[in-house]
């Protein structure tokens, strides 16, 4: 497979509703604000355990999730906090899970963003993240069997793409031409392991050729490019043309989890990617297009802060999970 050009967003934003374009901005800001809040709660020793930041990858989550609709299903991995929010999950539910509250989505039985919420079309991950690939292919299979014109969208990292589930899930989806989209967020590090220790191949999207499915390569820090690339893949899926593997070029800007200072990542690399921060880039483009100015920016940031403050108050006021029904819900 020839090396593709990495896609970037269109120069002309005129074909989009300003509300949609600003919505991408707001949702990336919401994602970052929630990540920051979770980090602050950790530092105040209020979390049950650690936390995983999606800082720097908000464009991947928000852009791709913006391309699916209400009846579609997503399977977010650990760094797709933004996908949960964009799909309509209230912020308090994320915080309740991090705080081990009995009214959270797992009632204290699992932590972080390890949960699903079918009422929002969300299938939850397990720690072995690539298992979401065959599982979400199964959700796509249910759409195909029922004649529903819906798609399943999931994500994986460049590290997680090396387990067998990736291969079996994509191959299966390809054979059955399932309405399925996989976004591979190449964020350069899987815990401490750099890309060159994951594969000898130059790219990850080139694997699609081996499965006979479509592939694309996109700037994951360009939220609109991420949206358009996923939108096209979703259109193919709805049209019966089968799955797509999208490789998103991005960077993990924090450690694997909060305990990890990521000193193994060269400082230069971080500095370089800080200039390509997805929120910074998108804000600049909105300003160039005269869709955003200082006043509006200040207003959005204040609204997001209020939303996160309210959600935090709500989550903190919820009861901590207590023993009582431990055996009651092992089985349905």
């Amino acid at each position: 497979m020839a090396i593709k050009m990495r896609k970037t967003g269109p120069k002309d934003l005129a074909k989009y509703e300003p509300e949609f374009l600003l919505g991408l901005y707001r949702d990336m800001l919401r994602t970052r604000a929630v990540d920051d809040r979770i980090e602050a709660l950790y530092k105040q020793a209020k979390l049950v355990a650690g936390c995983y930041s999606s800082r720097g990858q908000e464009g991947c989550s928000i852009g791709s999730t913006a391309a699916v609709g209400d009846g579609d299903v997503i399977g977010p991995m650990i760094r797709n906090l933004g996908s949960l929010l964009r799909k309509g999950l209230p912020i308090t539910m994320v915080l309740r899970n991090y705080l081990g509250r009995s009214t959270g989505p797992t009632k204290g039985r699992d932590g972080t963003s390890h949960f699903g919420a079918l009422e929002h079309g969300i299938i939850g991950p397990i720690s072995m993240l690539a298992s979401l690939i065959p599982v979400c292919a199964g959700a796509a299979l249910s759409f195909q069997m029922r004649g529903q014109n819906n798609v399943a969208l999931t994500w994986i990292g460049e590290g997680g793409s090396n387990v067998g589930d990736f291969h079996e899930g994509l191959n299966f989806a390809g054979v059955l031409k399932l309405p399925f989209v996989l976004v591979l967020e190449n964020n350069k590090y899987a815990y401490s392991t750099p890309v060159e220790f994951q594969t000898a191949a130059k790219t990850f999207y080139c694997r699609a050729e081996g499965y006979g499915i479509a592939a694309d390569y996109v700037d994951g820090n360009d939220v609109l490019a991420m949206y358009e690339t996923t939108r096209d893949a979703v259109a193919r899926a709805r049209n019966g043309d089968g799955p797509t593997l999208i490789e998103a070029d991005t960077m993990r800007m924090r450690g694997h989890a909060i305990h990890d200072d990521a000193k193994y990542v060269p400082t230069e690399l971080i500095k370089q990617w800080e200039k390509r921060d997805p929120i910074l880039l998108w804000g600049r483009r909105l300003r160039t297009a005269k869709l955003l100015d200082d006043d509006l920016d200040t207003q959005i940031i204040a609204e997001v802060k209020t939303e996160v403050d309210d959600a935090t108050d709500d989550a903190m006021s919820q009861p901590e999970a207590q023993p009582g029904n431990e055996l009651g819900e092992v089985f349905a």
Binding site: V135, A137, G138, L141, F331, A332
Partner: protein
Amino acid sequence: MTTNYIDAIRLAMRDEMRRDENVYCIGEDIGTYGGAFRATAGFLEEFGRPRILDTPLSEIAILGASVGSAIMGMRPIAEMQFADFIANGFNMLVNFAAKVHYRWGASCPMVVRLPTGGGTRGGPFHATNPEAWFTRIPGLKVVSPATVHDAYGLMRAAIRDDNPVLFLEHKFLYRRLKDVLPEGGIDTPLGVARKAREGSDVTLVTYGSMAYYAVEVADALAAEGVDVEVLDLRSLIPLDEAAILESVKKTNRVVICHEDTVCGGFGGEISARISELAFEHLDAPIRRVGALDTPVPHAPALEDAFMPQPADIREALLTTVHY
């Protein structure tokens, strides 16, 4: 009409597919070929694709797609061509399927069919009894029919259950067992043991292929004045603990027999529960009969020596009765 064990499984699947359009079959060679053991013969003609879904050789995909579609409300019946191959998809069952309801409340109604066991010279990779890999995983149900009626009834119950159910169907019994199924099928609730033979001297707790031998051994011993009660568990998880304890309290002696290897086999769990809950009722040590702790060997004489035989069951029963 007389039906054999594998036909009973096939008929239960067919009847449930006719009743509920969410039920579908997924696996390798199950459509065009009708399944390696012909359990889905004729299904492609009746139900068509994609409800009868031939897949790539890909256990993770079969089980993963089953999990994903089950979460979305389908009721997949996944076939592992041989029970041994489920090892390829272990994570999908023990970490995804088993925990999804406990973790965030989604139901995962799926059946995994496992052609199980030895006696057919299958060797190390085509004759495993994998139940103990799974009986200790909270969130999975494990059943093992030993009669034609239960092959039908447990399959029906497994399909209708809202949880992942591992269905151990014994290859040796496929065409050896024959019986007449009543009109309208049979219900066999999960978690209820079957008293295969009433007796008063000793309880033989068993399941699967060994339940088939157990009654034969018990009947022979009756002629020698030893009255054996045979309890066929049918369902390992959930386990009918009450039925075991009731029988042990009556006979005061117990032998546990399964075709699986002894070390870490499910018999150890049964033994532990009896020790904890009915120790004062025991007049003899609990004995376990199972396969040797080796892989399943291939050559006839080796496999016969490996597997528990009727003579081994008989000897264990006599030792226990005469203790």
